[in-house]
Amino acid sequence: MGTQIVEIREALRQAMDEEMARDSRIFIIGEEVAEYNGAYKVTKGMLAKWGPERIIDTPISENGFAGLAIGAAQTGLLPIVEFMSWNFSFVAADQLISNACKAYYMSGGRYSVPIVFRGPNGAAAQVSCQHSHCVESIYGNLPGFIVISPSNSYDAKGLLKSAIRANNPVIFLENELDYGEKMEIPTEEFLVPIGKAKVIKEGRHVTLVSYCRMLKFCREASDILAKKGISVEIIDLRTIKPLDIATVASSVRKTHRCVLVEEGHIFSGISAEVGFQIQQHCFDDLDAPLVRVCQRETPMPYSKVLEKETIPNTDRILAALTEVLR
């Protein structure tokens, strides 16, 4: 079996390219996806290959084109909507919240909405509060959405292919700072199933649950503790909703301690939900209260000193691990 080393952006592009070859109903729509080759070059070269009928530049009109894509999905097409930043999805919030995730249920099963909304989520480098918000707990609160957030090229490709084939609306959350992360992946076609978390490092003493970019800091913290003889098990959720609580609970039953790390804010966050489900399933197994490491309760500050302070980092994760291991 052949392998290739690809960046996450290339893995995402391959996923869309392969699926577009499989099904002519798939098209990509968003700001700067075509002639500009994508604000972050995820769609680089796709206009040249597929033409303007399937790689579609839009005006800055998120509410208009997100809703248009939802309507297209309801009437037989398979749209992939790129948000240049998930923060711009707020302008289209009515379309996502009132139509995309509700149309199938409220129509009594008449109109499904097979659509993928994708783009970079959360903070980049000092882009301040209106471009840095993490949206997963907002959209995760809405029944009807699948929420996915991969952390590496393999999962990015395999999960995006699964998302495109899903018959329901998918919120697909990428990370701007990680688009250039490289990984060796198969050249042959593969899929990654939706709804399956993965133990990315086995350990015995404590479980660390996270997803997407924060896993980098989790690994660093784990490496530091390994030198002190402490073995950390790290779980990559990969799919946030539906949540694979079975994989998380199995780990917690083994380690009896757990830290949850999330780039987004702490109140009503994903880690609040995962933590709640852990106490439901593992109440008698826990040897210490759960600890969360999340973004502090402020809009994202611009100054890099403050930005670094508010986003979870290796030091804060280490402190949390130390606390639950005490």
Binding site: T58, P59, A69, T75, L78, S107, Y111, A166, N167
Partner: protein, 341 residues
């Protein structure tokens, strides 16, 4: 407010009358009776406590959508607002299933999950209840028609004058004009956005004639109380949309008979003004023409009305006797089955 006289679509009434099949005219009147009776019975059921939530009656506006379906047919994509009962009936939804939907029963058109504001039919995407939020969905249907090169089809979207100042409306018009989508937006100006008069909400009058210019598209103004004007206008607009592959904006000037919803007593309108409005009843107007032209007799009209009433009374009985949704099914149908690929 920028105000100019309306330029109503011009159609020669007598020429038109002789060109329309008499059976079609009878059928159209029958449909208007069905709509009127459905709304009367639906509101009665509401007053009896059988129907919950909101209830928005289409009474007084029947000529517009009835003419639209008669002129354009049922093959196109249709989307409308929460005032959606007439369109679903016209597109073939059964009165039984619609009434059962109002009653929240498992036999409802949306299995009791949608209610009064979310009616559907085979080519009807809703029944959508956020003012203006349904217009991008309709533009998506127009996009699909263009993408799949489905010649002769368009996407028709009804909205109120209140929605004509929503961002979603203007974004959709820009996209549809930019991309040459076969989208026909029909502003049913019923003069009131809940209790706010159109003149207090929209900065221009006529609406379509003004806004269409801004997007470089063609506009029409119809007398929304006159079936014949609407019918001829929709025929022309449909041909124009298909011929040019360009979006079209229509304003059909009408006035609703009832409050915004059933819970609105309409205190902002004087009794005299309402009486004056109801004297312009589009159903009565069409009926008068058919009587004058001796296409129907008074007795035949009365029989038609009675038949519609009987259908709706039977629908109420059907709804009343239908099973409630089984609570065990509550969480079913949030996600569509994976049958697409």
């Amino acid at each position: 407010m920028s105000k100019e006289p309306y330029h109503f679509f011009q159609a020669d009434f007598h020429k038109l009358l002789s060109s329309i099949d008499q059976n079609l005219l009878k059928d159209v009147l029958r449909q208007m009776f069905l709509i009127r009776n459905f709304e009367q019975r639906g509101e009665a059921a509401y007053q009896q406590g059988k129907v919950g939530g909101f209830y928005h009656s289409y009474a007084g506006q029947e000529a517009i959508q009835t003419a639209c379906i008669a002129a354009c047919g049922r093959d196109h994509w249709y989307t409308t607002t929460y005032r959606c009962h007439a369109l679903a009936l016209l597109l073939g939804a059964s009165p039984n299933a619609m009434m059962a939907e109002l009653y929240g029963r498992s036999t409802g058109i949306a299995k009791g999950l949608g209610g009064s504001m979310h009616m559907y039919a085979d080519r009807m995407l809703g029944g959508l209840a956020i003012v203006g939020g349904h217009i991008p969905i309709a533009s998506g249907a127009a996009f699909t028609i263009k993408y799949l090169k489905q010649k002769g089809l368009v996407s028709l979207c009804f909205l109120g004058e209140g929605a004509s100042v929503q961002g979603a409306f203007h974004e959709s018009l820009n996209l549809a004009a930019l991309w040459n989508l076969p989208l026909i937006c029909v502003i049913e100006n019923n003069q009131w956005g809940m209790g706010t008069a159109a003149s207090r909400a929209v900065c221009v009058k006529p609406i379509a004639e003004h806004f269409a210019k801004a997007y470089g598209i063609k506009s029409y103004t119809f007398d929304g109380l006159d079936f014949f004007n609407c019918y001829a206008g929709f025929k022309d607009a449909l041909n124009e949309c298909i011929r040019t592959s360009r979006p079209i904006l229509i304003e059909a000037v009408t006035e609703r008979f009832r409050g915004h919803s059933i819970s609105d007593p309409g205190l902002y309108r004087s009794k005299e003004a309402l009486k004056e409005t109801m004297e312009k009843d589009p159903l009565f107007r069409l009926k008068s023409v058919l009587l004058e032209e001796e296409i129907l007799t008074e007795e035949e009209c009365a029989a038609m009305d009675k038949e519609a009433r009987d259908i709706m009374i039977a629908a109420m009985k059907f709804a009343d006797e239908s099973p409630w949704p089984d609570p065990i099914t509550l969480e079913e149908g949030v996600f569509a089955p994976q049958e697409k690929i």
